[in-house]
Symmetry: D2
Subunit: 376 residues, 4 copies
């Protein structure tokens, strides 16, 4: 099967996430990166593209979309890895021209943009894949599979958190700068950057949807314009309840995304920093440690795994799994077939839910943590 | 120094916590248990007392208070270890007669009783010690000392939780029965039984007071009359914020009380099930593991410790520490002196705060998790 | 049942282990400490005894044995907690007079003394209990029970280690001084002080006996007269093999006694510093965490346990368990009955094996780690 | 810089390690796989090569070496990923023709082959890189850097182990088959397959060399022709001592390679299954957790790292690091320059030491664990 011709928007020299997407696309050798608008500054776009040996270099994503769509062997898919506020405009141009979009999260910086993008995607034949990369971890798939199979019974309680500490003090480097600027990041700070990951993970594993929430957001660092800590109580459709904590001011936490799900007959616990382990307790029995590839791990995890148990896979492999799921879907799309039903990736619907989550957090917090619904 | 003559109310044969108090009082050999009304059922009181070789056996705490107060060598202190709804009536009788009270938590089953008991204590020369035993763990003392000394700077965020799983299904044994009966336990279920511990621990370590809270309580098990899961957002006086989770329906959790405190310059993490460890991260430095008795542990922990580092002390030693602090205070009281300023134990004020916490949780939850203050 | 009248030899003011024995004897309230020769220095014996409110104070253990044996209510048992080289002489005096001996480990400082003490014990009607206290931990009992019941099949490999770090540098306080003096400690340094614990634990859990060993001992700290690090390969009767490491110069280790046992069908792992957990892996199934008092824990652990799961018990409770097993045996001895068959404690035979282990380590190391048998 | 043209010998469809090498070579995008003799069975070689879209397919490594050496754009380097006994013959052909060799470990299946290969490498201008991949983990580099900088002082004790459990019972699949066949694997079973990793890791981190060892090897599974468990005592040049345990019959262990190094002033601990953590204890201070990319991590780890702290890197990234070090060296070789002095990778000398280690283990064990030197 020929490799998928891939383009990239954003991800120039000093960006972080662009490099991650590129590695992720290479790990399973199913993509070939052939075009990019890595920066909107022409010199930087050129330098960054050349450093990567990129065949076709652009500095304008619209121009790139137009030209690539016309090429006989133009890109089939594009990765959008810009700051949040550019996602909508960029994605629209590619969707419009039938080029599949693999977009970083959150979907957009505003709810209005998110809704417009949903329409754009609905009008397009192209696929839309959102890189909520944590859903690519094998043991996250394992957890989802176990919940679906009834291993812990009807869910009652979800505890999810994503603490970091890098914004404990004021930071002035690039990553911090745009992530704390509401014009580029969106109205949510920690809620948008990492709270969305926590929200998405909770929904992905449980199969539940947040119906309403009550949020108490705070910007602890003086002068910060967006929240750097969020306390959120959740109510899921169907009666389950949850708590979500996101923070960028919790010293001692790097990327401590962690989820615990409790049902009528058992519990599951998973932590992103130790991703090859899933703790499972059937009520009344000893806690069990299920390892990636080890005894007790099922098909959903096995599909997402490359090396034997005890040889840890990490963040990049989880990210690569999203790219491989996308590759399955894109390859099926080439000939109009359907991908394997096991293929799963976050879609534009998940993206909209994420933006609605941030929007709801901000609205609730502005009303003294009143309950608000996500739908608006 | 002669051992303190101790009595006990409650704690008959099939009780759990009475036995714990008795061991705790023995570990440091500063008490002598000489009288008891271990049950209100005369036969059971007699059988339980005899089994313990108790010199003076009563079946009525009031009679016990009256008689002991008259004896030349009557009890100097009494441990009250009955179900919650009896605390007030029993404590009052001993306080009235100048007998020191060591009372299990929560202080009372109702806020009205708590307030009356505060008055009774204020009118008495006797001491009142509340066994919020988790405050007796050496590394909890260590954490409190570090916060007070500024090791983590001004506090921003407190995450505290106390999940259990024993009430995941309906239980009908004695411990479960009274703890899920609002008439005996109080209006709070998990909030009263374990949420109060979490609340107390957060305040003890941080030195902060909860100003207001928003609580979403739930009774997940059908037919249960009190909450078995509580999600609470906290606002502390001075601007810190927190989340508190208590649950009795979280499979895989035994007594997983855990607290994390984050300040402007560092973080602290402690878990009751692994109590000899305290994790400390000064922002921008590697995380450090401070062990009981090991390098980095200070005076406050050393006072509460019996054996060298690496030999774990546990729940009973922590409980015994409260008894020893009480013994220091009682011995000082004997001759009208003041105990060592380092002596620290939970008082009736902490008890009132705990009952106010439960009351606030119940009130907030009844109003759809509206913010309510603790003072009422 | 009347409490057992207990005496103590050694354990004066500045000793460590004496205090531990006293707490251990109190926790379950089955002993009453009524006599002591806490020091061979009369002033110190007096001061130490008075500080404890000891009714009868001696400064000579022989005199104590003679007098107590004559008293109507003299001691029924004696705890011997002196430095190792005194164990033999002291124990002999009490055994000779029918007073039960509870003796700290190692049994003696020389193999000759150990053999003489075995004879003394055989000639006496009194019981001899050796406080290899780690065998008192509930989850050690659990492990032993599981091995005996075949949960891991025939044993192949035993990995046991006991690293500490307190002698990483030269120390001059009392505890270090006698433990590094071969005249008082015996020919083994780390092997005698902690290697014996590791050896004993391995045998206790597996039910196996070490047939031969090859040891490479070293004194890393200049001028030290006894080993501070020992590497030992073990061959058990029946074909199992093992490795044993003991060290007092391993920075970062406090009392990190840890054992791992692997059989034909499963594995078990336990660590003294986290004693409430036992890890169990049936081959081909996920690893399970068995907790003290939790699901999967059996009768052997339950007998040794006081509080519910999730409330950690520690070193002192494990030590107290040895005292309670001894109390069961002593009480049965009072009326000539047999104790409950479940009663288990280390005996003089275990003590002899321990001294043989140290002797074998020293002999082997002197012969460039040649294989030597323990029997001699 | 043009990507390095890479070939591969071995690694056909049903092999495990070939796929790992291919991913490792892709992660940092510095290699292009253009030729392969993936199997010695022509049909399988063809099918495997086509499945990978391999431009030039061979079924004979000698033919491949000859032809590629003649091509203008023939391969610059070859990865040899066959069973051990083929390493020597294959590597020789490429070295002879100036093609760099990246070879899986152990170097060869016999000591004689190893010595011949050393000569072949010495006679060649080409580079020889041995994929002792665990040395590619960032925190292993961190440990090595810390030891070299004196962070733990002069080394006294090294504890290293590599337990697995997959051969607990007889297995008949391909991976098990050749690894337990002395003709293909070499005289060492667990010692050759994983003991060499442990040996190499100990030497890599400490900078020490094993002078002599005493080994007690065993084949626990009936009928097995090579050891499946090895107990080894080590003596390093300069006076440090160590223990090494390798096992394939330890249920509950997947790839539990773990090393602990203790020096005069501190200790270090690292475990392969949790590779982003390094535990560091300066004697007399609290234990510190150094994380990949976090505070306390230095240049040696940073060079080997792609994503921020808290986003785990794993086995494949560690493997890729070896490939990237090799790429640095190969690129420098292209123009006759020297690579950055920081470039570090296991060489043929390390490979010879590994084979000598296995040889010494087998010789020692045959002589009842007598001490033997590695040099022979």
């Amino acid at each position: 099967m020929a490799r998928i011709r891939l383009g990239m928007v954003g991800g120039g020299n000093d960006a972080f996430i662009g490099g991650v997407h590129r590695i992720a696309s290479r790990i399973d050798d199913r993509y070939e990166l052939v075009a990019g608008a890595l920066s909107s500054t022409p010199e930087k776009a050129k330098a960054s593209g050349e450093a990567l040996g990129m065949p076709r270099i652009y500095s304008d994503f619209k121009e790139m979309a137009i030209r690539e769509a016309r090429l006989k062997n133009g890109i089939e898919a594009v990765s959008i890895v810009t700051p949040n506020h550019v996602h909508y405009a960029a994605a629209r141009e590619f969707l419009k021209r039938g080029i599949h979009v693999i977009c970083d999260k959150p979907l957009t910086s505003t709810l209005a943009d998110a809704k417009k993008l949903v329409k754009a995607a609905e009008s397009s034949d192209a696929l839309f894949v959102l890189t909520h990369n944590y859903t690519g971890y094998p043991m996250v798939r394992q957890a989802r599979e176990m919940v679906a199979s009834g291993a812990i019974g009807k869910i009652r309680v979800v505890q999810v958190e994503y603490p970091q500490d890098w914004l404990t003090i004021e930071q002035d480097f690039k990553q911090a700068e745009w992530r704390t600027d509401p014009a580029r990041s969106g109205a949510g700070g920690s809620t948008g950057d990492i709270g969305t990951h926590a929200h998405n993970l909770a929904c992905f594993i449980t199969g539940l949807e947040v119906e309403s929430l009550a949020a108490d957001l705070e910007a602890f660092v003086p002068g910060r314009q967006v929240d750097d800590n969020g306390h959120v109580m959740l109510r899921f459709r169907g009666g389950a309840k949850g708590m979500l904590w996101c923070s960028q001011v919790a010293p001692g936490n790097e990327n401590a995304l962690r989820i615990r799900v409790y049902g009528e007959t058992g519990g599951l616990e998973w932590a992103q920093e130790d991703p090859n382990y899933l703790w499972y307790t059937p009520f009344g029995e000893p806690k069990r440690l299920i390892t990636r590839g080890g005894a007790g791990a099922g098909d959903a995890a096995a599909r997402m795994s490359r090396v034997p148990p005890g040889h840890p896979e990490g963040y990049l492999e989880g990210f690569a799994n999203i790219y491989s799921e996308a590759a399955d879907a894109i390859e099926a799309h080439r000939d109009g077939s359907k991908p394997d039903p096991a293929v799963t990736y976050p879609t534009i619907t998940d993206g909209l839910r994420g933006v609605q989550f941030v929007d709801a957090c901000v609205r609730s917090s502005a009303r003294n943590a009143a309950w608000v619904t996500l739908d608006r």
